[in-house]
């Protein structure tokens, strides 16, 4: 009953929204011919002003760096929330037994799978680091590279199994590293204020356009974001994979209470 009521409500709401949407889209400028004053201004002046060749990075970490700081804090808040929800009885110890669904066979890892995972993990790690350190020149940056680095670590789980992976991925140092990554960003914001500049103003020497070390503060912020994102995703992977372990026996005292 509730289901049909919900669908009816959906239909009514969509009948209201649809004409507005059609009217709005009918008045949009032609596709591909939008007036884009801000984007054009950045495309024209970004290279000259910030000595970076990737304008998306210039927007993300310099012109609108404050917004990205907010995004990063959102990311950390979501990660902390997920970790707090999942932290608990399962899989905290390295010795925890794998959980089993009754009646489901255990799939063994094949040698080929182990080989490919071991070969690919370091390559993907390198690729992720490459993406993290080149945002000022080519597409990339801390957000994308951080996710790739965390996925590279996950390949160890895919190839060698849970315990070797967990032996490498300790929660505590990763938590600390994530906080440090976020702190780097915040400090990059406050440090320019010490020398009398504005929050997040790019006060470092900008370097030569097209060189690896160019863009000043952008590189540093980006490294912070890369660390925070990689560690955040690693923490999420750890917490979710801990859930695959069998539940530990509760203490008899706790059961009585």
């Amino acid at each position: 009953m509730r289901r049909y009521r919900r669908l009816a409500l959906f239909a009514i709401a969509m009948l209201g929204i649809l004409p507005c949407m059609i009217g709005l889209f009918a008045h949009m400028p032609r596709f591909g011919e939008h007036p884009l004053p801000y984007g054009d201004a950045i495309n024209l002046n970004g290279v000259r002003q910030r000595h970076v060749t990737n304008m998306v990075t210039a927007v993300n970490f310099d012109y609108r760096g404050v917004d990205t700081l907010g995004e990063e804090i959102m990311l950390i808040a979501a990660t902390v929330g997920a970790v707090m929800l999942l932290r608990g009885s399962r899989g905290e110890e390295l010795s925890a037994r794998p959980g089993r669904a009754p009646g489901r066979p255990i799939a063994w890892r094949s040698t080929g799978q182990v080989l490919i995972a071991r070969l690919m993990a370091p390559l993907i790690l390198l690729f992720g680091l490459n993406i993290i350190i080149h945002p000022q020149l080519t597409p990339g940056g801390g957000f994308q590279g951080g996710v790739i680095v965390a996925s590279a670590a996950l390949l160890i789980w895919l190839g060698d199994g849970y315990r070797p992976w967990r032996r490498l991925m300790r929660s505590r140092p990763i938590e600390v590293a994530e906080a440090i990554g976020a702190a780097i960003y915040a400090l990059c914001g406050f440090a320019p204020m010490v020398v009398g500049a504005a929050f997040l103003q790019n006060v470092l020497p900008l370097g030569k356009t097209g060189a690896l070390i160019s863009g000043g503060l952008i590189l540093l912020i980006n490294a912070g974001v890369g660390i925070a994102v990689a560690c955040g995703f690693a923490l999420l992977f750890i917490e979710f994979l801990q859930e695959t372990r069998a539940e530990e026996e509760p203490d008899p005292e706790e059961r009585e209470a």
């Binding site: 304008m55 979501a78 929330g81 994308q144 995703f233």
Partner: protein, 113 residues
């Protein structure tokens, strides 16, 4: 051709919302929410598109005409944050399943004290 991107964005939005409303499983619901979110990506990137222009990366070419970097920056951060939000919602779903033994929204009632 002119209306295809808007049609796609609107379609993704409606399909996603319909999925959220008619969902019988929280994991499916989180997936539908990601679909709704992706409609905003399509919309933003379509607004920033410019006929015949290249990417806003001037490593090999001199600065000048290119698609809008501002909307691309928006979408870029949104994708990563969206992934962590999905993780948060899936963690919630996992806890709901542990406590209630079901993921069907219709089977769940508001918590009583």
């Amino acid at each position: 051709m002119n209306w295809i991107p808007w049609l796609l964005a609107g379609w993704l939005f409606f399909v996603g919302i319909y999925g959220v409303i008619s969902s019988r499983n929280y994991v499916h619901l989180v997936g539908c929410l990601a679909v709704v979110q992706s409609s905003t990506y399509v919309l933003l990137l379509s607004v920033g598109y410019r006929q015949g222009a290249g990417p806003p990366i001037f490593f090999h070419i001199p600065p000048g005409r290119a698609v809008d970097p501002v909307v691309q920056a928006l979408v870029l951060t949104d994708i990563v944050v969206g992934a962590t939000i999905s993780a948060l919602l899936l963690a919630l779903a996992l806890q709901v399943h542990k406590v209630k033994g079901t993921l069907d929204p219709d089977q769940l009632r508001p918590l009583r004290r």
